[in-house]
Subunit: 239 residues, 2 copies
């Protein structure tokens, strides 16, 4: 941005070499199938209705409009393609390999976690379906790589408070929090170790309420508001 | 990317609304002035030789070429403007506010830490100077905001091993590591607390060598190779 390198000699040269900017969004949520004891990490995909990759599934997204910010474009294109409107989208990474699309496209990818009750809207949209994150089909463009990267970031970054805030109701049992962590990590966790770590993290706080039912009463926890989304950082003022 | 929204009706419409992609890079290093006891966090800036913001200082960078990846563009434009060639650049964030430039430009920003001995090249380049990160002038575009965000990320992310690897020689004393941490955080740290935390982090390992000189001998440490740059993640295969 400080020096123009190999500037196009004319407008037509610019058109020949134009790089377009798109936004795509990875939305993770949880589904519990009737026959499953544990929830599964799922994400919504959109079936493409035009070339390239017509008929293939792809991440929700669209082109950046010249009059909107990246954040606004991510929210708009997600709503237009899936009907989903998460309260907060976080920028994940910009993907810009030369051969990731037949034309040159740089995709700014956003991501969000959605609680199961927030994830209902997308079901009604045409050409939208939820997929198990662990068993995706071959997606359009480099979208399998993008989902793989998002999963890696989720596994590395997601602390207890972020998971609880993003994927669980306001109050939850330690067993529910552990099941969510197991769905993200793709492996079982020892209940006693998990309890010790979660309670010691400072990210969740116990309430005086209990969940009762067929099992013995289980204490309900809340996430600690003090540490919620602490890694948004100074950019939060832009939203 | 999955649906074309408000697609340009013709090529000329595309030219009118074209969004261009640039890359910029924030390079942090350390300088110890002759009269200072502690090192200071510094970064190289390039004086702009054309409009917009002619004469102002800006982050090194340039336009994305249609035939190169984002990573390659970041390395190339940094080398062309400053002569610096860090072994590893990490993508930081994409900045795309509508009014950040007179024309519509999305900047993919990279960052890197540079050891003092690696930072020498830039001094010889025309229109390049190193600035104290804490006392920058008013920069071109939104580059003050970008540096502020990079500093915030550095303060939050930089663990002991990353700091040691990025800003110190292969072997260093705990006092040197503490001084670097103080430069990044912008405040003094208690030596005893710092020693305990650094040794307990697992990110650095003691050697059997000592630094001798005017003070009493101080043990030399190395960063722990096992945790080095662990947050590169699966994208490392792309480099």
């Amino acid at each position: 941005m400080t020096r123009t390198v190999a500037a196009p000699a004319s407008t037509s040269a610019l058109v020949d070499e134009v790089t377009r900017v798109a936004v795509s969004t990875v939305i993770f949520s949880l589904r519990r199938r009737p026959d499953d004891t544990c929830p599964t990490l799922v994400l919504p995909l959109v079936r493409r209705t035009r070339d390239p990759f017509e008929g293939d599934w792809a991440l929700p997204g669209g082109w950046l409009d010249a009059s909107e910010s990246l954040d606004a474009a991510a929210s708009r294109t997600l709503a237009e393609t899936t009907g989903l409107m998460p309260s907060y989208l976080e920028q994940l990474y910009a993907f810009g390999d030369v051969d990731r699309s037949p034309t040159r496209v740089v995709s700014i990818v956003y991501w969000a976690l959605l609680r199961p009750d927030e994830a209902i809207g997308a079901a009604a949209e045409e050409n939208v379906a939820w997929f198990d994150a662990a068993t995706l089909p071959r997606l359009a463009f480099d979208h399998n790589d993008i989902v793989e990267y998002a999963l890696w970031r989720l596994r590395n970054k997601a602390g207890y408070s972020r998971i609880a805030h993003g994927l669980l109701a306001d109050e939850f049992t330690l067993a529910e929090l552990r099941e969510v962590s197991e769905a993200i990590l793709g492996r079982r966790l020892d209940p006693a170790n998990f309890r010790r770590q979660a309670e010691g993290s400072g990210a969740i706080t116990p309430t005086e309420r209990f969940r009762t039912g067929s099992h013995r009463p289980a204490r309900l926890y809340r996430y600690n508001q003090d540490v919620e989304l602490a890694d948004r950082g100074p950019l939060v003022i832009r939203h």
